[in-house]
């Protein structure tokens, strides 16, 4: 019983922290930017979300393998443990790079996370063309991994770093094309516009059912190319996050963790956290592009018109955050399923899969979308 009280208490405190910006905003408008960046949906929420998804990932993985899996707070204890570990800089590593890059990775992934729409259609940072800026940041991240692998001066690190670079070169084009599909449909490269356009796997059927203006049942055809692109994006997320089947850069049983081999203590923590935040971010961005991001837009007007009486703001945010969490959980579930049921590919097989299968597939889907736009 005691534990349950503690759990409920913690949840309440957490909720109060998360929603505090909305109340403080009304009284002290100046504080809002600070709170937005540091509490919600900024660093605090991003970290807690990242740790939550790491738990979801590990728990699902364990349950699928007939194991018990970690406790709910295990990811937090892991972080605390790594904080307490000794921070070693081995002799022979290239010092400035080796020490700076892990922290840089964390900063980069946090920057990426600021683009993610979490409680409304817009992320914290949003501008025209931000979709490409996101992809650019992903490439920089892969570059940083490559540099880190080189700076270790360790054969395993070198191999891991170069493999990560090769993987990035292979996945980048299919991933970009996968994101372009919905962008063409929305007529914009801005993430918030794509979210609001309503052309995604969840909103299209809803719009068609509710008979929203401009949607006919022929629009359901868009679901075919969009689901192909969604599948490619999820697989690319597996590769970006270095998870099975696309983890030759990390392969523990071959090259002992690859580029992370020399990292210890805080450096390992930064690198580890960067990976967790990246998982959260990628899930959020894929949810925004393919699943309509936070909220169920077609239902909103229906709710306001018919049922809702009361403070709209809060309800709106609660619904957005809940749907965001649900949609991202689905994506994390898919990523985890991939890594449970598949086995690791070799680096040449990875390249082969992306260039030979996923690239033509994504092109075909893109052509299908363009053709459908012309016809409909």
């Amino acid at each position: 019983m005691k534990n349950e009280y503690r759990f409920i208490g913690c949840t309440l405190i957490y909720t109060v922290i998360i929603f505090s910006p909305f109340y403080i905003w009304k009284r002290f408008p100046v504080m809002i930017d600070l709170l937005k960046y540091f509490v919600f949906p900024g660093i605090f929420f991003i970290f807690s979300g990242a740790l939550f998804y790491s738990w979801v990932d590990r728990k699902i993985y364990a349950q699928m393998q007939n194991r018990v899996g970690p406790r709910f707070l295990q990811p937090i204890f892991d972080v605390l443990k790594l904080l307490a570990k000794e921070d070693i800089t081995p002799i022979g590593v290239e010092t400035p790079e080796f020490n700076i890059i892990p922290a840089m990775q964390l900063i980069l992934t946090l920057l990426l996370a600021f683009f993610t729409p979490i409680y409304m259609a817009e992320g914290l940072i949003s501008f025209e063309g931000d979709l490409f800026f996101l992809l650019f940041l992903l490439a920089v991240l892969a570059g940083s991994i490559f540099l880190l692998g080189w700076s270790t001066n360790n054969p395993y690190g070198l191999i891991g770093g170069s493999r990560a670079a090769i993987a990035e070169l292979s996945l980048e084009i299919p991933l970009t094309i996968a994101f372009i599909g919905p962008a063409i449909l929305a007529g914009s490269l801005r993430l918030s516009n794509i979210v609001q356009s309503g052309f995604n796997l969840i909103d299209i059927p809803l719009n068609v059912i509710l008979g929203t203006e401009g949607f006919t049942s022929a629009h359901l055809l868009y679901i075919i190319p969009l689901s192909i692109l969604f599948y490619i994006a999820v697989l690319s997320a597996n590769a970006v996050l270095e998870k099975v089947p696309f983890d030759p850069a990390h392969a523990e049983t071959e090259i002992v963790g690859g580029w992370t081999i020399e990292l210890t203590g805080k450096k390992l923590l930064f690198s580890h956290l960067a990976n967790l935040v990246l998982e959260f971010t990628l899930a959020g961005i894929i949810a925004a592009v393919f699943l309509g991001g936070p909220g169920l837009r077609p239902l909103e007007s229906l709710l306001i018109d018919r049922f809702w009486i009361g403070p709209w703001d809060l309800f709106y945010y609660v619904i957005n955050i809940t749907t965001f969490l649900l949609k991202t959980t689905v994506i994390v579930f898919l990523i985890t399923t991939n890594r449970t049921v598949l086995s690791r590919l070799r680096i040449d097989q990875l390249v082969q899969y992306f260039w030979r299968y996923y690239l033509p597939m994504s092109f075909l889907a893109l052509l299908m979308i363009i053709y459908l736009i012309g016809v409909l």
Binding site: P155, L158, V244, A251, E252, E254, V341, S343, R344
Partner: protein, 583 residues
């Protein structure tokens, strides 16, 4: 393969102008005297005329004025039987030199290195004669298995090995050269796998010279687990050695004990008097061990290929057979079932009733594993067509067990040289011809099913009778060589008795050592990512190969360690370690 009739075996010897020393347990073993100068010539004739190419090991005896080398070759007899044609070569102690047979039998590469390391016999024309089990820094004239070397000398030698600065410097230089020279000359860089590496369960060291992602050259170092079990055998009685034999290896402990017991029984000439029930119980134990070893193997193979889900499933289901073993013997690893003249424990009818349904349940699970592994494409493309070992190469490098069978060599000691109750049970032996990792997997999966069927059949037809016969403590003078199909392949033990209650000479050749030369050959040309599965394919069991025991160096005692003792030792070592770190 040409078959030689047992009668002609004698003719073969006479046609080669050889004297037959002994036909013990004929036609299984045939000892033939050979002059050192004629060895190569005779091996050439044997190879050419009679297709004899499998050398099991090289045993050395230290007898008064001479060293005696035994080369046991496998000879194919009719009815799919295999006999031991043992060439017995004498060389004098003052000049222990003999021609190397590596040009003829490349698989003898490691055996000759081992003999050089242990006995100091110089093999001329050997491509790389160096120490392989003991440290490189050991004094040059210290060869541990020679009779004139006391255990104190070995201890001092090992202690001083660390202080031997000259040798240490050489070693350091060698390490430096291996790291840097190769970068400029032969390959891009050198990767060391082991002694500690996640792909390896036990310590062994491979140094891979890599160009891009392709392996160009491999170097090997063994001996990280070496504790001199063969020397330890010579100072214990026949019965005490039972338990030492079992501790040669953790996974195939039963095979080693069985093999030792059989060798002693051969030496004692009581092989035919063992009660029927004991033979059946031996078979059951051997098969249960094969099941758990193969389950472990393909679980770890999946883990190495990044297929962790499969790993978790197989290891979960392995617990069924571990529970059965625990129910029968009281232990999960060291069963202590065999004794000279029979077995020590019975399997009661109630146990049989409980075990059979469990085995049938396990059979269903193994079929499930088979389906899962055969249909997962991302797993298969990592295994298929990788590190192919052709039949000719497998014969050249004297491969054994599932490793040889996956290359198309139809050899299984259970059928070819039957022991225990195998000649009364029916079973088939899976053979593949591809020789890649995937065929090794298929063979092991099918062998697991066969082993389950065999165990069930043996349990159902378990005859009544005595468990063991009485055997005197002193074994009469003589020698015995016994072979067993361990989960990893042919395991061979040799004992020589001098009429006392202790063996004069004991020799083990674990299947892993026989598979290493072919493994080294297979590793050249594979990609770095394929190294772990390729190493895994021979099911390496380094403990077996190197042979471990606990010996207290300070007190000159063999330790009888209880669980509490081990824990206290670990705690002491931990405290010591933290103290050093704090300083």
């Amino acid at each position: 393969m040409k078959n030689i009739k047992p009668e002609t075996l004698v003719e073969v010897a006479t046609s080669l102008n050889l004297t037959i020393r002994e036909l013990r347990n004929y036609p299984s073993d045939c000892y033939v005297n050979v002059q050192a100068e004629r060895l190569i010539e005779i091996i050439k004739i044997l190879k050419k005329k009679y297709d004899v190419s499998h050398l099991s090991t090289i045993v050395v005896q230290d007898i008064d004025e001479d060293y005696k080398l035994l080369y046991p070759f496998s000879v194919h007899l009719p009815e799919e039987k295999i006999g031991n044609f043992i060439l017995d070569v004498k060389i004098s102690k003052c000049d222990p030199k003999i021609n190397s047979i590596v040009p003829e039998i490349p698989g003898a590469f490691l055996y000759e290195q081992e003999v050089f390391d242990m006995m100091g016999i110089h093999f001329e024309n050997h491509p790389n004669l160096k120490r392989i089990l003991t440290p490189d820094t050991l004094p040059k004239d210290l060869f541990p298995l020679r009779k004139n070397i006391s255990s104190k000398e070995i201890r001092d030698g090992l202690k001083n090995a660390r202080k031997n600065k000259e040798a240490e410097e050489k070693l350091k230089e060698y390490i430096r050269s291996e790291q840097f020279e190769y970068i400029s000359e032969k390959s891009d860089y050198a990767i060391s796998v082991g002694p500690q590496h996640p792909a390896l369960e036990e310590p062994i060291r491979f140094i891979f010279h890599v160009e891009g992602e392709t392996v160009k050259n491999v170097e090997l170092r063994l001996g990280f687990n070496h504790r001199g079990i063969e020397k330890a055998f010579e100072s214990r009685t026949w019965l005490q050695n039972l338990y030492l034999a079992e501790r040669i290896c953790g996974i195939c402990s039963d095979s080693h004990q069985l093999c030792y017991v059989q060798a002693v029984e051969k030496c004692n000439e009581i092989s035919d008097e063992i009660p029927e029930r004991a033979l059946y119980i031996r078979t059951i134990l051997a098969e249960l061990e094969r099941i758990h070893s193969h389950l472990l193997w393909y679980g770890v193979l999946a883990h190495n290929a990044g297929f962790d889900t499969m790993f978790q499933y197989t290891w979960r289901d392995r617990e069924i057979v571990m529970d059965i073993l625990e129910r029968i013997s009281g232990n999960r690893v060291n069963y202590a079932m065999h004794t000279i003249g029979g077995v020590r424990r019975d399997i009661s009818p109630e146990q049989v009733l409980k075990i059979i349904p469990k085995l049938k349940e396990l059979r269903k699970r193994v079929i499930d594993h088979q389906k899962m592994m055969m249909n997962e494409k991302s797993f298969i493309i990592r295994q298929e067509g990788i590190a192919i070992l052709t039949k000719a190469e497998a014969l050249r490098f004297c491969a054994v067990g599932p490793n040889a069978r996956s290359s198309g060599i139809d050899v299984d000691i259970r059928r070819n040289d039957p022991y225990a109750a195998y000649n009364q049970l029916s079973f088939d032996i899976p053979i593949r011809t591809e020789g890649d990792i995937f065929s090794g997997l298929i063979i092991r999966l099918e062998e697991t099913l066969t082993a389950i069927d065999l165990a069930v059949e043996a349990l159902e037809t378990l005859p009544q009778g005595k468990l063991n016969i009485k055997v005197p403590r002193k074994i009469p003078q003589g020698e015995g060589m016994s072979r067993v199909e361990a989960p990893r392949g042919e395991d061979i033990h040799y004992v020589q008795s001098n009429g006392t209650n202790k063996p004069e000479r004991f020799k083990v050749r674990a299947p892993t050592l026989a598979n290493i030369p072919s493994l080294l050959h297979r590793l050249i040309g594979v990609q770095v990512a394929d190294i772990p599965p390729v190493i895994r394919v021979i099911d390496p069991c380094i403990g077996c190969m190197d042979r471990v025991t606990f010996i207290d160096l300070k007190k000159e005692l063999r330790l009888n360690m209880s669980g509490a003792h081990l824990i206290s030792r670990a705690n002491r070592a931990y405290r010591l370690g933290t103290k050093i770190l704090n300083l």
